[in-house]
Every structure is written in structure tokens, then in C-alpha cells.
Amino acid sequence: MRKPLLALTFTLAASAAFAQSPKDAVEARQGFFDLLGAQMAVLAPMAQGKMDFDAAKAQTAANNIAALAKVDISPLFVEGTSVDDMMETHAKSEIWSNMDLFMEKADALHQAAAEMPDAAGSLETLQPAVGKLGGTCKSCHDEFRSK
């Protein structure tokens, strides 16, 4: 996961440096969420008993998601890139009319993800931590992502 992380950092840096095309911003943030998803795809099946617990894999995914969640995604939510403006995105326009709440949800993700590296050591601690983390995804999607 080092490479995508690195690539992402560049993307984010670029987005701050240059005015991005709306399409690029959308692609970048979707890439960000896909990366979150890739970590969850390792953690959730273990927590739900659909896959055997593997401490090493869990730890890697937990560290990754903790690092990813630190990223400030606000530069990727450029004005004029909501579902009302373009086809390629699922971002509701409410994000821009209620940016404070949106950032609060991002912060909840950050907090929950920060607990993951310590929780990944055993299945007993992983389970509630994944539930809490997944809850922060749901709560933001319910509010700010169209289906």
C-alpha cells in the first residue's frame, strides 16, 4: 500500500498547487475512498468471521487506514463538483452547503481510524473497532453521498 499512498500524497499536493479540473478532483477523491475500501475489505471479513483472523494482514490494513484517514480531503471537494453539476460523482451538494458537518464526519473517521493500529492485535479488539469505523463510513454516506 506504500505506492498508492505516495501517489495519493502527490495528487493531494498537486490539487493544492494547481487548479484541478473538476474531473480530476472527483477521480482523486474516489481513488481515496477506494483505498479506504481496500483496507476495509481486509478488516471487515475478519471481524465478521468470514475470513480467518490474520494478525499481520490486519495490522497492515489498520496502519494504512489510520494513515489514510489523516489526509485532509477538503481540497478534493472543489466547488462545482456535486451530483447536480456532473455525472461522474455521487457527492451531494449538501457537502458544500454544510461543510462543517461534512468535516465533522471526516473527523469521526479520523478518530475511529486512529484507534485501529492498537485494536488490530486480536480479534476481540478488532471486532468493535471495525464496527465503529464502518459506522463512520455509513453515517457520512447516509448524509452526503447519493446512491
Binding site: M40, G131, G134, T136, C137, K138, H141
Partner: protein, 198 residues
């Protein structure tokens, strides 16, 4: 005018068999639970799923019962043709009870609509993937992604609202019978018995 007090003889008949009655009141409880938990429940939707599975089980029983159950429980008994429905509609504003034992011609179709929407709700729930990795429907992996991440959740959300409206009309119809036609439909759904004038 309706004049039940003077009607000479009254007879008690069984309208709803125990399976229909149990089905109905368990459905009411499970529906309320599924709806409330879906809209306002905890982020971990485990109990919403359980309520949904309960409804799926109830629907399966009711569908089978629609073919093999007692007379009034059968689809063949309560699904009437267009003429019967039209006749019934004409009679609807009258203060007189239609006197049907079992669902009336309009009510029968409303039952089918409710059951159909509930099936849609269960199917879209089972195949929904809200991409939070903790509330993924157990069949979401078996359908294309465009369905699991987009159409199924879209329809699930829409039909949830639609069901609320249809159930609202359902209850309004029961109240209408009670207040306008002076017929208590709820009691038979509890006891199974209905009084019919001879």
C-alpha cells in the same frame, strides 16, 4: 340507512384463520422494527437485518398460505376481477358495509400490493451494498456492482417511503370502515371471528 339493532338474527363466523392473524400482527411488529431501525437505528444495522429476515420468513409463509390456507386466506378467494372492483368502488361511499367475509375486492388488491412491495424491499435489502463494509446485504456480492451499490439502495430507500404511504392508506381504510361504515375490522383480525347479519 343502516339499522343493525333491528336486524333479526346474527351469526358468528370465522373470517381469519390463526395463521393469517399471527402473520399480520408479527408483520406489524417486524415492519415497525425494520422501518425504525433502518431510518434511525444504530450505524451497525444488525437488528435491521434481523427484522428484515423475519419479514422475509413471514412473507414466505403467507405466500404458501395464499394457496393452501383457509378459504379467506387464498389469493383465488380475494383477488377479484375488474368488474367486481368497479362495483365495489361504486358502493364505497355508502354507509352500508359491503358485507364481505374476507377481503373486499379493493382490499384484496391492496393486500397484493403490500405483499409485493414488501418482497421488493426484502430483495433490494438483501442485495444492497452501502459501501461501509459493515452493513452489506448477504446477496450483494451475487449481483452486478451497478445494482448493489446504486439501484438496490435507491429502490430500497424509495420503496421504504412508498410502503409507509401504502400502510398509511391501509390504516386509513380500516378507520374509514370503523367511523363511516360502523364496522370494526380490527377485532376479527385479533379474534378471527366476525358477526354477520342474516
Amino acid at each position: 340507512m343502516k339499522d343493525t339493532a333491528a336486524s333479526p338474527a346474527k351469526k358468528t363466523v370465522t373470517v381469519w384463520d390463526p395463521v393469517v392473524r399471527l402473520f399480520h400482527w408479527l408483520l406489524v411488529a417486524a415492519f415497525a422494527a425494520a422501518w425504525g431501525l433502518g431510518e434511525w437505528g444504530p450505524n451497525q444495522m444488525t437488528w435491521h437485518f434481523y427484522a428484515g429476515y423475519a419479514i422475509a420468513g413471514l412473507l414466505a409463509v403467507r405466500l404458501i398460505w395464499g394457496f393452501v390456507g383457509s378459504r379467506t386466506a387464498r389469493f383465488s378467494h380475494f383477488l377479484y376481477g375488474p368488474k367486481a372492483v368497479a362495483d365495489y368502488l361504486r358502493h364505497l361511499p355508502s354507509k352500508e358495509s359491503s358485507g364481505h367475509v374476507g377481503h373486499n375486492p379493493l382490499g384484496g388488491w391492496s393486500v397484493l400490493v403490500m405483499l409485493g412491495l414488501l418482497i421488493v424491499q426484502v430483495v433490494t435489502g438483501l442485495t444492497s451494498d452501502p459501501q461501509d463494509y459493515i452493513n452489506v446485504g448477504p446477496l450483494a456480492g451475487s449481483v452486478p456492482e451497478s445494482i448493489s451499490t446504486s439501484w438496490a439502495p435507491k429502490i430500497h430507500e424509495f420503496v421504504a417511503t412508498l410502503l409507509l404511504i401504502v400502510v398509511g392508506i391501509h390504516i386509513a381504510a380500516i378507520v374509514y370502515y370503523r367511523t363511516w361504515k360502523g364496522v370494526n375490522l380490527v377485532k376479527p383480525m385479533i379474534t378471527g371471528k366476525k358477526e354477520v347479519g342474516e
